[in-house]
Symmetry: C2
Subunit: 521 residues, 2 copies
Amino acid sequence: MPTGEIEIKVKTAELLNSCKKLPFEIKDFVKKTEALRLQYRYLDLRSFQMQYNLRLRSQVVMKMREYLCNLHGFVDIETPTLFKRTPGGAKEFLVPSREPGKFYSLPQSPQQFKQLLMVGGLDRYFQVARCYRDEGSRPDRQPEFTQIDIEMSFVDQTGIQSLIEGLLQYSWPSDKDPLVVPFPSMTFAEALATYGTDKPDTRFGMKIVDISNVFKHTEVRFLQDALSKPQGAVKAMCVREGANYLKKKDIESIRKFAADHFKEEVLPVFLKNKENWNSPVAKFILEKQRLELIRLMEIQEDDVVLLTAGEHKKACSLLGKLRLACADILEMNGMVLRDPALFSFLWVVDFPLFLPKEDNPLELESAHHPFTAPHPGDIHLLYTEPEKVRSQHYDLVLNGSEIGGGSIRIHDAELQHYILATLLKEDVKLLSHLLQALDYGAPPHGGIALGLDRLMCLITGAASIRDVIAFPKSFRGHDLMSNAPDSVSSQELKPYHIQVSWPADSEAERSSLNHSHHPES
Amino acid sequence: MPTGEIEIKVKTAELLNSCKKLPFEIKDFVKKTEALRLQYRYLDLRSFQMQYNLRLRSQVVMKMREYLCNLHGFVDIETPTLFKRTPGGAKEFLVPSREPGKFYSLPQSPQQFKQLLMVGGLDRYFQVARCYRDEGSRPDRQPEFTQIDIEMSFVDQTGIQSLIEGLLQYSWPSDKDPLVVPFPSMTFAEALATYGTDKPDTRFGMKIVDISNVFKHTEVRFLQDALSKPQGAVKAMCVREGANYLKKKDIESIRKFAADHFKEEVLPVFLKNKENWNSPVAKFILEKQRLELIRLMEIQEDDVVLLTAGEHKKACSLLGKLRLACADILEMNGMVLRDPALFSFLWVVDFPLFLPKEDNPLELESAHHPFTAPHPGDIHLLYTEPEKVRSQHYDLVLNGSEIGGGSIRIHDAELQHYILATLLKEDVKLLSHLLQALDYGAPPHGGIALGLDRLMCLITGAASIRDVIAFPKSFRGHDLMSNAPDSVSSQELKPYHIQVSWPADSEAERSSLNHSHHPES
């Protein structure tokens, strides 16, 4: 045809199948609820976006495999998903076996197996591993998810990090700007102090600044109070051009958020002009302090400074949350802050090895998992002040999302036993096979796991990880297409020697069993 | 060194880890029980054979991915393993959810999802898919296994077959003779008549021959009886040089096997010399018949002919079993029959679409699964004599093992509904999503699944599929290293609203809960 398109003259045509009226049009501009999309997933998959996402995912994973298998001698090894419960594995799905009272468990990751493979001399392991996590009522999680799971022998932290940098660079989609490696690195302490989080979005500044020194001799009561407490500090964050983008109601909602979630006061102050939204403290800031802050934080006309005082970690966390909230508001009001074409990777390192238990702060729990090796510089503290020990754990962060984490592992059976039994007070019997394995000449080893769903979600710019999974579960863990999970007759439960213990208030539900399909909205 | 080896002068050495005395030596010639190997799997993995098997498996799968993804535009798509029970899914493991009485199910294959992907316009799908099958007490099965799962739109049987031939040729280990394609093909009826099985080992002859015509006018009573019944036939198989390799006790055990398992009589006869081990019928074979048989079966001096009479299928099955038993005996006695370096692939096609139900022969069940399309030549029979309809199912057989199977699927919703509801009498509500999907313009499609564990077992010549799996379950479905499946406290069962129903005789076991590790032998 003149337009350059090809016109086909049909001589005969055969109708291969007919098509009923679709429940929605397969056009990207046609709005449809996610529930409808999930119920007719096989139609939703025809959309340009889903085709692009799934095809790109396949290509990225293929490139990763080429990099690992063909270029770096890794061995793709499948590990079992029918395993036994791990200590503290409260989030592991159970699978009843035909032996009365005996259950398999679907593991959250192949952690134990990959370490055992190192003991077994398979010194470069990887797997695109299906993992399972039962987070009960927690919303927006997939009960099954996929991770690029890697483990190596005779490697250190830098070795794993450059492997992953090369892996991502090699498999990065060709329609995007190539990645620049190495990725920057930041300690956990620095990330917390500067961004108020262990997964900073480094696409934009708006960093947290410690301004305690400026107020060392302040007479403002609440600053005085904060500074006099252990770890007390005054922190501030400069919102560039905030005066032009933040409305009074935005500031009010920021202050309310701080009061509601952190029981802290946040004071918005203009330091380069007169206006000060209800900030009672502004007038108590001395001229000397004002000039010092302007210098320290490089404050310009129309900038707004958010200031808070309190315990270091809490104050930083608060400002970290406000940083993201402000970014949302600024972007909603027209500022361009986070370039969607920018992929800002960051390593976060030197995490603490242990954290105080949430329900009993006098006891310790692993910050990540009990196989993480302590930082070589801190080993002596294990026996005196274990809470101060840093770990050899590392997280990979992309645009403010954690997309991977790993560590150098403990390869010394005695050290592993000490940490499990003495420090964590775990029942070591459950891990006797692993402890025993370390005793048979385990090599030093370490690894990492990348969350493939999250990574693909960020690469494609999808609104949810459900948009990079062919058949995802809904917000509440249901398959809206087939109606899983579903009822099962007591006859079918018999071979597994289990029966349902119906909650007292569910008689109604019980009698409505086998009723059909109630798609959630 | 003079030998060409390199000698290293060590200046300093650091001990990275020490090693306890191993429970067995890592040398291939050291015999150890499989239970011990599985208990210390991480040590067993260090053996030459396990390293070779697992590394080769990884390479073969990588080549398969290159062939499918890079050369043929297939998309690697992960499908869920937390699904809902399929009709007749008695072998599906259940996974309790946190909703009372609701269970996920671990599917035996991604069958429904792969068909839905075709409806969704992902017209070339593949996945190295983890599948689950709970075969209860059946021995020597892995509860989880892996298949190379493939589905295509707008394809016919030949299309899938040549894809798979190309796939295997491309990924075949380079240290083996290259594969010759296309693979030979045989109908189910021919396989049964010639080899007595739907998975013939075509590395050697010893074919079954129908000799009914020779005995059309026999006066031997039991041959007469057999021939007078419907489908009655006389069948024979020639064991070359049998007289030199089969001892009298071998023949006796063959006859006992036939009597015990098939309630049939097998008569061993020498047709070229006088000796006839206890074969009362031999003397009734007329000279004319003897010469006719020698001609028909190309019988040589010292050959032994095994002869049986009965219903066609039963007689063939019996001789098919004896064919393999004889091969075992002949090889044990020194004959080379099945070359371990020979890989003899075979397509078996034109299976029946339905079989009579085992427990009620008046009803039909799918010979493979209910989504298999009928043979185009037999569609009219669906409404009159469905038991005579052949299917578009195909099996791939290697050296007598089924290593793959697939079919062209039904893409017409009405036909699928008729087969499910009218012929199979299934509850169509359980498959309403699939029926609905077919109604929205499903393309014609078909696919296949290759059993990766079995394939690798044959390629590596391993004794068991457990030797090509890193962490297999034992014969009885246990993980002997970690002791899975394991007991779980009733506290841990609570969130899933289930409790154990202890069998009456298991009180003893119940009270011994949480006792440790009893490796099976």
